[in-house]
């Protein structure tokens, strides 16, 4: 890469020759060929990446004011809220950021499901994404325990106790997770360490996710490969500006919640300090775990329930081999498109059921929704693949754009 001949730029050449950071940035951020037809659903990946940075930065400043000790944890969070300069802003950005992170990632994942972004040759890209999702869930769960409120404590009790369902070594695992025979200071300390460590894991997974992405580049709404330079545009300025605009819209919503409804996603019970002697009437996990919580509670046998809950996420790993239809985008798959929306609806039903008490009719609805959740992957996807007649996708991205513009002109003339 040649920068130039004035006084400073040769230094960049010198560096680039030895460590090609500038060439790398040019190839992957500036000239990087991107399909020209990406819609706004493609904004959510970069948004999630930006929010990860916001979480890491606010998390750092929270951690330096927090005490991971059962005696002080609750009070130290209130110390952040009351005494630390802009501590309330840091905490509300972080706690609501977690919820927004899941909003972004869920939209990002459903976008992948709709447009077939998990299909060859992007199976590993998808699988790494599911790994990121799993790491996020672990991080969020441990983070929710740190304020040491009633929901922190009892949520941790419910979730960690699940591992006791594992045959033979179950109780040993629970003891190891707790660092003792009850949830106590050891538990809080290790959850704090885990919560601080996991973002590094997520960060590294994100790098691998990018690596896999840049190998075959982005999928697109048509689901056809980029075939010539006519199909692609450079990432900068087209998608830098589009992502920036999307960021602005996202920040309006995110900051709106942070400043004007900061406890919207929270449970009032978590403003009561953890008390092992008082069980709250309803123990509910954070909203982003509710669909899986519903799956867990739909099955009476504890072990099977736990397996089903983890399988609910795990089955995403197998998706590229469950749906083997060669056409990627649901745009050209009339049957799949309908079942996609049924699946979205099913996930929302599961989320709703997860927040309800375990009484009828919720139990039955939850069971049906759970059965359908797995059926979608194990039966519906393979069956559609077998019987559906997909429409013929266009030859290329550019030819599709040309055609639609011709139609528009024709309509305008007629």
């Amino acid at each position: 890469m040649k920068f130039g001949t004035n006084l400073i730029l040769p230094v960049l050449d010198w560096v680039d020759y030895r460590l090609p950071v500038f060439s790398y940035a040019r190839d992957n951020l500036i000239d990087y060929p991107t399909p020209k037809n990406l819609n706004y659903w493609w904004n959510f990946g970069s948004l999630a990446g930006i929010l990860l940075m916001i979480m890491i930065i606010t998390g750092f400043f929270l951690a330096i004011n927090y005490s991971p000790h059962t005696e002080f944890a609750f009070a130290s969070v209130e110390h952040v809220m009351r005494d630390v300069n802009y501590g309330w802003l840091l905490r509300f950005m972080h706690s609501n950021g977690a919820s927004m992170f899941f909003v972004l990632v869920y939209i990002h994942m459903f976008r992948g499901l709709y447009y077939g972004s998990y299909k060859a040759p992007r199976e590993l890209l998808w699988i790494i994404g599911v790994c990121i999702y799993l790491a996020m869930m672990g991080t969020a769960f441990m983070g929710y325990v740190l304020p040491w409120g009633q929901m922190s404590y009892w949520g941790a009790t419910v979730i960690t106790s699940l591992f006791s369902a594992v045959p033979i070594i179950g109780d040993t695992i629970v003891t190891w997770l707790w660092g003792g025979f009850v949830i106590d200071n050891n538990t809080l300390t290790r959850f704090f360490v885990g919560h601080y460590l996991m973002p590094a894991v997520i960060y590294m997974l994100v790098i691998v996710h990018m690596w896999a992405l840049h190998q075959h580049k982005s999928n697109n709404p048509l689901g056809v490969d980029m075939k010539s330079t006519a199909d692609s545009i450079p990432f900068h300025p087209y998608y830098t500006i589009k992502d920036m605009f999307g960021l602005g819209v996202f920040m309006i919503i995110y900051m709106g919640i942070v400043f004007f409804a900061p406890d919207m996603f929270g449970e009032p019970d978590n403003y009561i300090e953890a008390n092992p002697l008082v069980t709250p009437p309803h123990i509910v996990p954070e909203w982003y775990f509710l669909p899986f919580y519903a799956i867990l509670r739909s099955i009476e046998n504890k072990l099977v329930g736990v397996i089903a809950m983890f399988a609910g996420v795990g089955i995403l790993f197998a998706l590229p081999w469950m749906d083997r239809c060669r056409v990627r985008s649901a745009k050209f798959r009339p049957i799949y498109r309908q079942f996609f929306w049924i699946f979205v609806f099913d996930c929302l039903v599961l989320g709703y059921i997860g927040a309800q008490a375990a009484v009828e009719p919720y139990v039955t609805i939850g069971r049906i929704a759970t059965a359908y959740y797995f059926a979608h992957f194990l039966i519906v996807c393979p069956m559609i693949c077998k019987f559906e007649k997909p429409l013929e996708p266009p030859e290329s991205i550019s030819s599709a754009i040309l055609k639609s513009e011709q139609e528009k002109t024709a309509k305008g003339a007629g």
Binding site: Y40, W41, I241, I257, S404
Partner: protein, 264 residues
Amino acid sequence: MMMTNIFTPRKTLIAIAAAGMLSGLAAPVALASEGGPALQKHDWSFNGVFGTYDRGALKRGFQIYSEVCASCHSLKLVAYRNLQDIGFTEDAVKELAAEFEVTDGPNDEGDMYSRPARPSDRFVPPYANEQASRANNAGAFPPDLSLMVKARKGGPDYLYGLLIGYKEDLPEGFELADGMNYNEVFPGHQIAMGPPLYDETVEYEDGTPATLEQHAKDITTFLAWAASPEMEARKKLGIKVLLFLFVWTGMLYALKRKIWAKLH
């Protein structure tokens, strides 16, 4: 770009915004406590984007806390110095704090000693510990009030409803345990705390009529401040941040259109 399917950017943004608003609205609607009447929603001075704490209500509320609540309930997350934020002078706060004794030490001889509280001290609790509190309250433990408004579903509306929700006449067939009181909004309706406020429980210096409703409103406002002392600063900054974001995002949108126009 082709936008023949339902995935249009405009609809996307509307959907996201609508989802955000819906979840925001959904929370306060589900206020009815089990079996009781639906909580009445009040037009609190601190509601809404521009809401602030009514200064008069804060002062009267602090008076109620000091004269009534403080004999049983702690407020341990609030420091005396925080009262300066709601209009007390530095000297008034010093004087106020000095009425309470705190244990400090050890001194150079190794002994603990008592000293008058300073503005930097947190509100001195009425009892040394939970056991002492229970021993003095027939086994019940009056909870700390610092976060009470945030720690109950319904927030200030719940607290207000609870304070005016005591009923002498029980519903037919209701069995009230010994030493308990019937309350319309308390979950299960049996509450250990007796009615803490009546008409004219405290005499206001500013001449506000001392009705039960007024008392309940004032103490709720004070405790809302105690739970979210950052709220006024938060909303004030939030308005600036959102104004900036609207302008910034609008400019980015214009720039995006301009850059993308070259493509077609």
